[in-house]
């Protein structure tokens, strides 16, 4: 899923400062699962905004609404009947959702309430960890299901570097060393011979480095 963090409240209030009629838009997908921008978080943020405005005696009217999926133009269109009743749209979706809404309603000022941070998975309740960088050329077969491009701080393909200690990355004791995990798995699977292969220089043109990427499936286009 895509994981995000809510922006600091102060920053949000600064963006909303000149506006009284606010549409607060959540998303039912990833940001709901990672508890940052679903219906629940929309309600909490709306309440916080109201409390803050009440305290400062500045009127506000907030419409709380959560879309099935903000990154899909079909769902984005579903709010067209009331979007014009509001001066600003503040989206709690990931950057993809914010942009879809902004592209759908070009005359509207659309601002983000969250900082989109990574593609990751849930490790336990309340803990999410980055797992994939979308490099466009997956090597998880060679590294037995642990991505060094993402999970090694230096994206080393022939690791571990000299900073791996006690299973942790040199940058932070709470960050597991991806290469320690890979080696543990290689041993467990009796596949240590894979470790001796030198991973060649990677072709990064399939990743963001090759420029913004587009995927097209002609058979699905209408």
């Amino acid at each position: 899923m895509i994981v995000a963090n809510r922006k600091p409240f102060e920053e949000i209030m600064e963006m909303l400062k000149p506006y009284k009629k606010i549409l607060l838009l959540g998303c039912n997908e990833c940001v709901t699962v990672c508890s940052v921008g679903g219906a629940k978080e929309v309600a909490v943020l709306a309440s916080e905004i109201r409390l803050s405005r009440l305290k400062n005696i500045i009127p506000v009217e907030i419409k709380e609404h959560t879309l099935e999926r903000q990154c899909d133009p079909e769902y984005a269109l579903s709010i067209s009947s009331f979007v014009n009743d509001y001066e600003i749209i503040i989206s709690m979706a990931c950057g993809c959702g914010v942009q879809t809404i902004a592209e759908t309603y070009r005359e509207k000022y659309v601002v983000p309430a969250v900082n989109t941070t990574f593609m990751g998975s849930s490790e336990e309740h309340g803990v999410w960890r980055e797992k994939c960088q979308g490099c466009g050329n997956c090597i998880l077969d060679k590294t037995l299901g642990i991505c060094p491009v993402t999970r090694c701080a230096k994206s080393i393909l022939n690791g571990p570097c000299g900073g791996s200690q006690g299973g942790s990355c040199e940058i932070n004791k709470d960050t597991p060393c991806a290469w320690q995990l890979i080696i543990d798995r290689l041993k467990q699977m009796n596949m240590m011979e894979k470790y001796l292969e030198i991973q060649p220089v990677k072709d990064w043109s399939t990743s963001r480095d090759g420029g913004p990427r587009t995927r097209i499936r002609e058979d699905l286009r209408i």
Partner: protein
């Protein structure tokens, strides 16, 4: 045992403090409450095993929300007491009332009335 406690406290019964949602507390402040006090079972004695522990964590979280909105973290508190300890309940009710009185009214209330 007829114990008295301040009359300005409104009691809301829930099956477990674990049922108390962050929104309940935020809404209470939106509706003009000056303070919110959660009273749960003693730690380790939750009927639902960890309801009061989860409530404790939520209280910590809501304190951060109240701080950023300018309402103030100290307007929320959580206590753990035995269901049989009416005396302690009355004591806490008085303590909390005194504390909130000292803080003054909920700053978001100016426009509520």
């Amino acid at each position: 045992m007829r114990l008295s406690y301040p009359t300005n406290i409104k009691i809301i019964k829930v099956p477990c403090t674990g049922r108390v949602d962050i929104l309940f507390i935020l809404k209470a402040f939106e509706n003009g409450a000056d303070g919110v006090c959660l009273i749960g079972c003693l730690e380790g004695e939750c009927h639902f095993l960890t309801g009061n522990i989860r409530a404790k964590k939520r209280v910590e979280y809501i304190k951060s929300l109240l701080e950023e909105t300018g309402i103030g973290a100290e307007r929320v508190a959580m206590y753990n007491i035995s269901a049989a300890d009416g005396r302690r309940f009355a004591e806490i009710a008085r303590e909390m009332t005194e504390k909130i009185k000292a803080l003054g009214p909920n700053p978001a209330k100016k426009q509520v009335e």
